[in-house]
Amino acid sequence: MRSFMQTAGMLPVLVLLAILFQFLSAYGDTGTFNFGVGRFLTSANLPVVAQLASINTVLATGMTFVILTGGIDLSVGSILAVSAMASLLVAGSVNYSVVTVPIGLLVGLGFGLVNGTLISALKLPPFIVTLGSLTAVRGLARLFGNDTTVFNSDLSFAGIANNISTPLGDISWLAVIAIVVVAASWFTLRRTVLGVHIYAVGGNPAAARLSGIKVWFVLLFVYGMSGLLSGLAGLMQAAQLQSANGLQLGTGYELDAIAAVILGGTSFVGGVGSVIGTLIGALIIAVLANGLILAGVSDVWQYIIKGLVIIGAVALDRLRNQGGART
């Protein structure tokens, strides 16, 4: 219930920003606040926003599973890099999607499960475990590509970076994939037994354990899921870059993903939140990135404004449902 309230809580912010940028972009071009000529709310630009949001959305969805159990996964960026790397390397020899795509996903899943095992079996703090793999996995990504950019201009699955024309205008497959991921995750969380157990573990681990829920399994699942989706994001990034660089690819992505989740009203203490909220959070971040450029705001100010908006959004939300959430 409350989580829904919060979801709704962020929607206005999103709409507000969109309208704002429509005006600002108009101002940037014509010097007048003429809504009509704005470049933001156009069939040309909105797909761009959707595409910008897509990869972060996928990462943030995986992150949502983790944070719902009260954990955190800092390693998503590195896992993204390593699986992009892996699939590109394999594509070098056997360039068939039936091979490369599963490889990318499995690599992601694998590292996710390693995180999960360390956390659920050895009961290590998620922050430190995933901080460790953030570093180690990045090293592996560089090692695999022996520290150069791996490139493949005719990647078999590069097609997913192309557009499909829909009544709403051309939309990138990446955006479609992101939507599908969100939908599937929503279903898992809300309509399956596993979903209830994830919320239960997040809400009160002791109670979950006493009622015989396999807490270790739930944890393994969520970190595996986060890894898997990071792998998927890696494939998406590989498709649109047609290349991967172990050192640079995906650095700092974890912060954007977490920001999206929290903006979406998911609680850090676990047990409260929804992927729909996460989707909106990811969109807010993408709208900022794209809108500020259309508005011709300089790079420096983009930093400042982005930071302030993140804080402002949560403050607004907090003021709206006072006493409510314990994000």
């Binding site: 219930m1 399956t192 037994v193 209830v196 239960a200 809400g203 009160n204 009622s211 829920i213 409260v272």
Partner: protein, 532 residues
């Protein structure tokens, strides 16, 4: 259960305990705080693994790989002492937790809601299956626990202090259900600190002491003296009762004039005199805690004024209250009282250390001294000042908390459920402490849901109902009937019949009133959803 032992790092909670339960009996399990009752039950329910050597047979079949699920399949269901609910899930989801009905792999919410509605009605709960557990009051949450256990329809039903948060009427419903289940041939293990409840329900009583099995007696052999002796191992001077009620001579030290927040509490006014113990009674949810928290500045108050020693005072935050010599003992020890990870020393000195300090630097010597003195004065059973409070039993945690307040030498003390979840031994010690405080000239306001307690310790009793002050009883009129009458003015009939039965109970012990009790505090383990 045959010679069950359980060792925690540092503690041997159980050693070679034997227990035999027959179908169709209610078997009470008693013992002081930390005796091992809950632990024993947790080994039965598969929450803990018993140390090797012990054996648990259910219907003759030994239970091997014991985990919560195996236990449940073997037909054991349990109500845990510390609430085991997920506050972020709905009532239905909690009742069906890990037993969710599925349709084609997916969760079948409709079935869950329908199923839970049944039990809820059967136990006469007032809330719907779709409400979030976190938004329920502690009492209501306790009901959810009971519903879950009953709903599991098992062979053995364990109840670990189920009534600690229930009002008498809710308890009555529970007892009815227990009896019915007994008729249906279930074996029921019933843990409680309340003699009267045990007497009313149980066929046999087993007693644990310091993790040892002491013995089992039949209902017929059961007198309070016997049971208490088995529990404490020594004769306990029977329950503390004021000989003479103190008549205040000096002017009031605390004057409260129609304070309230317009919602839960409406213009409450009363005086409190030095050396006086004022009892505050009322049903669960009467607004006593709210009122107390307002006095203390912990919750916002919209109306009224407070005078201390004749002088009006502005109390906007707890530290304001402490500065003017007014302190408050919370009713929810674990959630907002003790600091479990900190040492007894730090806990006891938490309030006073800023006064002792020179230029903000702690006076360690003095702190140590205060701690040792407190341990001695309050008979706190703790290995040393540096032991973390988390490892102490409920009673001793409560004493640490109490001494934290006393170190500030307050003029006025508000004690909210001072003996909640505390065993008989510790109880009578706390009563004595309260009496000494009053004799020492302090003014004490005791909020309690145990009538006998109110009657026993108070010089004067005021009663709240639905957020306002219903009335006052003093001197010889102070008896349970009078108080119940005030507290339940709305429902006299119920009250009176309760009273009759309670007099039938025939115990002269602290829990004598249990049956006729107005309301029962919730247990220390459960933290109420914070509304502050």
């Amino acid at each position: 259960m045959r010679n069950i032992s359980k060792t925690f790092p540092g503690v041997k909670a159980l050693s070679n305990v034997n227990l035999t339960i027959y179908p169709g009996e209610v078997h009470a399990l008693m013992g002081e705080n930390g005796a091992g009752k809950s632990t024993l039950m947790k080994t039965l329910s598969g929450a803990y693994q018993a140390d090797p050597g012990g054996e648990i047979r259910i219907a003759g079949r030994p239970m091997k790989a014991s985990g919560p699920i195996e236990a449940r399949e073997a037909g054991v269901s349990i109500i845990y002492q510390e609430l085991a609910l997920a506050p972020n899930l709905t009532v239905a989801e909690n009742i069906y937790l890990n037993r969710e009905p599925r349709r084609g792999g997916f969760i079948d919410r409709a079935a869950m809601v329908a199923g839970s509605e049944g039990v809820l009605q059967r136990l006469g709960a007032t809330f719907t299956p779709r409400t979030l557990v976190g938004s329920l009051s502690i009492a209501e949450q306790q009901m959810v626990e009971i519903c879950r256990a009953v709903h599991a329809e098992s062979k053995i039903l364990v109840m670990d202090e189920p009534t600690t948060a229930l009002s008498s009427r809710e308890s009555e419903k529970l007892f009815a259900i227990v009896r019915q289940l007994r008729r249906e041939g279930l074996a029921i293990i019933y843990i409680s600190h309340r003699m009267a409840e045990v007497y009313e329900l149980s066929d046999r009583v087993s007693v644990l002491r310091d993790g040892q099995y002491v013995g089992t007696i039949l209902r017929s052999e059961m007198t309070p003296e016997v049971v208490v002796k088995m529990m404490v191992g020594r004769d306990l001077s029977s329950f503390y009762k004021k000989q003479t009620r103190f008549r205040p001579d000096k002017p009031p030290v605390l004057e409260v004039r129609n304070i309230g927040d317009g919602r839960r509490v409406r213009d409450v006014s009363f005086d409190l005199h030095p050396g006086e113990v004022l009892g505050l009674a009322g049903l669960v949810g009467a607004g006593r805690t709210e009122m107390a928290r307002m006095l203390f500045g912990a919750d916002p108050r919209t109306t009224g004024e407070i005078r201390i020693a004749g002088r009006p005072v502005q109390i906007r935050s707890p530290q304001d209250a402490i500065d003017v010599g007014l302190v408050y003992l919370t009713e929810d020890r674990k959630a907002e009282g003790v600091l479990l990870d900190m040492s007894a020393k730090d806990n006891i000195n938490l309030m006073i250390c800023s006064k002792d300090a020179r230029a903000g630097v702690l006076d360690l010597g003095k702190a140590m001294q205060r701690c040792r003195d407190a341990i001695a004065a309050m008979k706190i059973r703790v290995a040393g000042p540096e032991i973390t409070v988390g490892s102490l039993s409920g009673g001793n945690q409560q004493k640490c908390l109490l001494s934290r307040l006393l170190e500030t030498r307050p003029m006025v003390l508000i004690l909210d459920e001072p003996t909640r979840g505390v065993d008989i031994g510790a109880k009578s010690e706390i009563y004595r402490i309260i009496d000494d405080l009053a004799k020492g000239g302090a003014a004490v306001l005791v909020i309690s849901s145990e009538l006998a307690e109110v009657v026993g310790v108070s010089d004067r009793v005021i009663v709240m109902r639905e957020g306002h002050l219903e009335g006052e009883v003093r001197d010889d009129d102070i008896n349970q009937e009078a108080i119940i009458a005030l507290a339940t003015a709305a429902a006299r009939t119920v009250a009176s019949e309760e009273v009759d039965r309670s007099s039938a109970g025939g115990f002269d012990l602290g829990d004598q009133a249990a049956a006729g009790e107005v309301a029962v505090g919730h247990n220390p383990g459960a933290s109420r959803p914070t509304r502050h």
